[in-house]
């Protein structure tokens, strides 16, 4: 007989065989250990009176704390918006074919990444001492009008300026990385189609660059939410400064630090969720079908349950 044995008809239909899943006791043991450790940690947090939970509860939504949270959000939003605006300009300069623009952009990133943020903030804060007047007019020529630096750059402006200029250096590198990640063939195709340069950048390159930019930018935004706490040295009433003011008055240091921690946690959570959906938006055309969102997943499970239960009741057993 020359035909291979595999060609012969199988002894029984494939449907008659049942799959039995392998037992994995190690997983159960590891799960139990982690669960016990977790319970211990939660217990330590709740039962120890030193954490002062009633005080945490009392101050979590205290008006002065909520105001401080809003100010933190404002600083973050301005710092990120202005930072990424300037960062995008710097990235485009760095990617241009003009050597002077490339060098200036490189120099900016070098300078603002090298000096610690806290030092930069103090420089801006003391700008009025360095330059008493700021005048507007012809460069190196006559001035049309001039203002007192104190009036133009108050502490809030100094803080926003400091955060944004520092952020711009990092944003520039993130945006540049995004542009570099786009296949050069895309620009070539756009050029071959005669699409104007500005539209090539904003319609073809940037949306594809966003796939790389968004995760890194998410990191930066979340970093800045907490980074704004550095501004406390300028005595601005953001979250971290405000809780210090309160615990200096009432002496409940740990409780007030917990209040701040909880708020930072909430802000970061909101941003993480937002990032998830923004990434989906720019992921269009990448996968043949996007995976369901957590909300869709929950809905699906709720919709499937009754059907599965009915099936189980009717058929009973089978491979699970």
């Amino acid at each position: 007989m020359t035909a291979p044995a595999a060609i012969e008809a199988p002894a029984e239909p494939a449907g008659a065989l049942t799959v039995v899943k392998a037992r994995r006791p190690g997983r159960w043991i590891a799960g139990a250990v982690v669960l016990v450790l977790l319970a211990m940690a939660v217990n330590a947090l709740i039962t120890n009176p030193a954490w002062d939970w009633p005080v945490v509860g009392a101050y979590l939504f205290h008006p002065s704390v909520v105001h401080a949270v809003l100010f933190t959000v404002e600083l973050t939003a301005l710092g990120i918006a202005l930072g990424f605006l300037l960062g995008t300009v710097l990235a485009l300069m760095r990617l241009s074919r003009v050597p002077l623009l490339v060098s200036v952009a490189w120099g900016y990133v070098w300078l603002f990444r090298s000096v610690p943020l806290i030092l930069q903030l103090l420089f801006w804060y003391n700008l009025a001492a360095l330059y008493k007047h700021i005048s507007f007019g012809v460069p190196f020529g006559p001035a049309f009008f001039s203002v007192e630096s104190m009036d133009l750059i108050g502490p809030v402006t100094a803080a926003v300026l400091g955060l944004a200029l520092h952020q711009a250096a990092y944003a520039a590198e993130i945006v540049r990385g995004g542009f570099l990640s786009v296949d050069p063939g895309q620009m070539e195709a756009a050029a071959a189609l005669g699409i104007p340069r500005a539209r090539q950048i904003f319609r073809i390159q940037l949306p594809q660059a966003m796939r790389t930019i968004v995760p890194a930018a998410g990191n930066e935004i979340i970093g800045l939410v907490k980074g704004t706490s550095v501004v406390y040295i300028m005595a601005l009433p953001e979250l971290f400064y405000q809780v210090q003011v309160i615990y200096n008055r009432n002496g409940r240091v740990i409780a007030m630090l917990l209040v701040a921690a909880i708020w930072y946690l909430l802000l970061t959570t909101a941003l993480s969720v937002a990032q998830y959906y923004v990434e989906r938006r720019f992921g269009r055309g990448q996968a043949s079908a996007l995976p369901p969102t957590p909300v869709q997943r929950v809905r699906r499970v709720l919709a499937v349950r009754p059907a599965a239960r009915r099936r189980a009741a009717a058929g009973g057993g089978g491979a699970r």
């Binding site: 070539e188 195709a189 071959a192 189609l193 005669g194 699409i195 104007p196 319609r203 269009r284």
Partner: protein, 254 residues
């Protein structure tokens, strides 16, 4: 001989010390299909890319439909055009890439309408009607709302052809349009190109598909080491080549 649609004269191009094109002459008449064959590294793709000025040339000139590409002539001088004007010139020249280079974040229809919508303001519904017409022409009407990654390579290249046609170009350049495709998908792309040739589109095709050259080309040009060393009707070049190097090349590919 009527005035050529594409006129390439004495074109030289080097990358540093490497001479890629060394004096290429090529004339393509309106409605004619020219197929360029030759070993890899002979400068075929570079020649094609100089025609729509994706590559600058060092010497010589290119005209399409009587207009200097990349330059403005005044007396004996050629003034380099600004990028904006070069982009406008490219609307007359369709280009189909080996790797398709479709825009992955835009749907098939948006890929086709992108260029006409970005240039001179044309009404959107008119452009979309044209896109649907072109997609029907390449047999992909049902894929208008799909994204490129959801399509096979052959389908993607057909979309790329529709996209190149959306500006109603005077000439369409094909840079090895089937080289990146699985063998069973080559036929559908060649079929679309044959229909295009029959409809009187002026085409310059760089390809290794000798069968396509024989069936569709009016002229076959054989390139080697940066020069066109032989050109003429397909039977002449493909069946009784005069040049030794043409014979050696054909012996390898056929």
């Amino acid at each position: 001989m009527s005035t050529p649609m594409v006129d390439v004269r004495g074109v030289h191009k080097s990358y540093g010390p490497l001479k890629v094109l060394r004096g290429v002459d090529l004339q393509v008449r309106p409605g004619e299909v020219t197929v360029i064959i030759g070993p890899s590294g002979s400068g075929k793709s570079t020649l094609l890319r100089t025609i729509n000025h994706l590559e600058k040339i060092d010497r010589g000139y290119v005209t399409v439909d009587g207009e200097f590409i990349g330059y403005r002539r005044s007396g004996d001088r050629l003034y380099e055009l600004r990028e904006r004007d070069i982009l406008r010139q490219r609307a007359k020249i369709g280009f189909v890439f080996q790797n398709f280079n479709l825009f992955p974040h835009l749907t098939v229809r948006q890929n086709v309408t992108e260029a006409p919508l970005s240039g001179r303001r044309r009404p959107r519904d008119q452009v979309e009607a044209l896109a649907d017409e072109l997609l029907e022409q390449v047999g992909l009407s049902d894929k208008a709302d799909a994204y490129p990654r959801q399509l096979s390579g052959g389908q993607q290249q057909r979309v790329a052809i529709a996209r190149a046609l959306a500006l109603r170009p005077k000439v369409v350049l094909f840079d090895e349009p089937t080289s990146a495709l699985d063998p069973e998908l080559v036929g559908e792309v060649l079929e679309v190109m044959k229909n295009l040739a029959r409809s009187g589109t002026t085409m310059i095709v760089v390809t290794h598909e000798i069968g396509f050259a024989r069936e569709v080309a009016d002229t076959v040009a054989f390139m080697d080491a940066g020069r066109i060393i032989e050109h003429g009707p397909p039977p002449q070049v493909l069946d009784s080549p005069r040049h030794e190097r043409t014979r050696a090349f054909l012996a390898k590919v056929l």
